[in-house]
């Protein structure tokens, strides 16, 4: 094993920067969601606090932090407090391995995408123990529905990502972006189908509408986070938005060519080129998030059996056939 001396200072600074980014990202996304949803519904949205309502999120955050943390009497205290933390921390660790640029990537793991997938599995656990420890039947129902939805949708998620890994031949995220170059994976038919399937299952994994039955504001009071008040709810919220940016970042890296322009590979060295690459990556990722928000306020919520039918009867066969076809193509033509 060739071991170089690890640059601990760089890693610590990068981790701190990443946490700050996650907080800023959530703040911006809350504002974007409220404005976009408002304009879709033909109303102005927040416009009083700060110019265009930009400070609304900061004030809301302060309000959340000032609220009293209520723990129900019958709840299991330690597990109750653990669940929001378990929901919030793994996506941050996963974001540390995403290639925002050629150099702006904290740790380029050889098993990159597998690491991110194993951290996604911890989110399911967080929801389950949140629902269980609340000692509330609505929370339990929401948690059970959410777990059923999440573990069902993990299969087409894995299969569509597997198509990309099979095509590019590596699990390493940096190499996955470089292997696409200018010719993005979505330009191929297998990549396009895999991208659509991945996007839909990504929305289901982060419990975003139209798959947000676990949160189901009009049905189950608030699903698995009914009993959480103040910062506990805030942490779940932050975790959901961080998951959204993580899903979009992975979709950008694997399917949309990462930091490359269409048909142009950006290979320049130097800070200026790196900045351009990071900006292009963020533009693509945030466009995908805009599409997610757009879909939330356009489509009605699906019923639970429709949800599971969609997964088992439509998405899994399609992704399996897509994977097999991609494998046959690679063997026949040579990729």
């Amino acid at each position: 094993m060739q071991i170089q001396s690890p640059n601990i200072l760089l890693i610590v600074v990068a981790a701190v920067v990443m946490v700050l980014y996650v907080f800023t990202n959530s703040a911006v996304l809350v504002w974007v969601e409220r404005k976009v949803s408002a304009h879709i519904q033909r109303r102005p949205g927040p416009f009083e606090v700060g110019p265009f309502g930009l400070l609304q999120t900061a004030i809301d955050g302060l309000k959340l932090m000032a609220k009293q943390l209520i723990i129900p009497a019958k709840a299991d205290k330690r597990i109750f407090m653990l669940a929001p933390v378990l929901s919030f921390v793994p996506p941050i660790a996963a974001l540390l391995t995403v290639p925002f640029g050629k150099v702006v990537q904290v740790q380029n793991l050889d098993i990159g995408i597998l690491f991110i997938l194993s951290l996604a599995a911890l989110n399911v656990l967080a929801i389950l123990i949140a629902g269980w420890s609340s000692a509330n039947k609505y929370s339990l129902f929401g948690a059970v529905r959410s777990v059923a939805q999440n573990i069902a949708y993990e299969i087409p998620l894995l299969l569509s990502l597997l198509t990309a890994v099979l095509w590019m031949g590596t699990l390493n995220l940096g190499e996955l972006v470089d292997a696409q170059g200018g010719f993005w994976f979505v330009f191929t038919p297998f990549g396009f189908i895999a991208f659509v399937i991945y996007f839909v299952t990504g929305m289901a994994e982060t419990n975003r509408a139209p798959f947000d039955l676990p949160e189901a504001e009009s049905e189950l009071t608030a699903g698995f986070h009914t009993e959480y008040s103040g910062m506990g709810f805030g942490l779940f919220f932050l975790g959901e938005y961080t998951n959204m940016i993580l899903v979009s970042a992975i979709a950008t890296s694997l399917f949309l060519g990462g930091y490359n322009l269409p048909f142009i590979t950006l290979n320049g060295e130097g800070i200026l080129w790196e900045l351009i690459r990071v900006l292009i990556f963020l533009a693509k990722a945030y466009f995908l998030i805009f599409v997610m928000i757009w879909m939330r306020w356009t489509f009605p919520r699906v019923r639970f059996d429709q949800l599971l039918n969609l997964c088992w009867k439509v998405l899994i066969p399609f992704s399996l056939v897509n994977l097999a076809a991609a494998a046959i193509w690679i063997k026949a033509v040579g990729g």
Partner: protein, 189 residues
């Protein structure tokens, strides 16, 4: 084979040692909670902590792929099924556990401890384990995949058959349970 590092990495090796001790503590503490907890959900959570600790130990052994698979399979699937089953089955052993007398427990603990000590003393520490010449390093998924499809292909096919039978069997068993006897409070989940 002994792992050695050059001397300018001594601070990092010390940090790695401390992290290693932390993972071992996580594994053993989780195991203790898993077998001694009174509430079943605490036992499952202890098991989860122990599994994450073992994944860390796999990473220390140099095989990050197997560490990821440990978390994906055990923590991501098996543990969640267990928590689900605990939530659905609500076993009354939480309420009144017909446990053994203290004397029986102590006797059992002593027997298991003697067994452990005998195995350790005779097999592990009395032998000097030496390394053979290295042929391949199984760190990457590529080599494991090649091995699975060339040398171990029979085991690979058999385990896919076993998993298929397990899936079909568990669906059939859980399905047949409905309709005979009462369901839990009439809920259908």
């Amino acid at each position: 084979m002994d792992i050695t590092f050059s001397s300018d990495l001594s601070a990092y090796v010390a940090i790695a040692d401390v992290t290693f001790i932390a993972f071992i503590a996580m594994t053993l503490a989780g195991g203790l909670v898993a077998i001694l907890a009174k509430q079943l959900i605490h036992a499952v959570l202890g098991l989860i902590i122990s599994l994450i600790g073992v994944a860390g130990l796999y990473a220390f052994l140099g095989n990050y792929f197997i560490a990821s698979m440990q978390i994906l399979i055990y923590v991501g699937a098996v543990s969640i099924s267990m928590v689900f089953a605990v939530m659905l089955a609500r076993p009354p052993e939480e309420v009144k556990q017909k446990s053994m007398r203290l004397a029986t427990k102590i006797a059992l603990g002593v027997i298991v401890g003697l067994f452990t000590a005998a195995t350790v003393g005779s097999a592990v520490f009395a032998h000097r384990w030496s390394a053979a010449a290295k042929v391949t390093s199984g760190d990457t998924p590529v080599e494991i995949g090649i091995g699975l499809l060339t040398r171990n292909v029979l085991a690979f096919e058999l385990i896919s058959l076993v998993l298929l039978i397990a899936i079909i069997g568990s669906v059939v068993i859980a399905k047949r349970g409905r309709g005979t006897g009462k369901t839990v409070g009439g809920e259908e989940l």
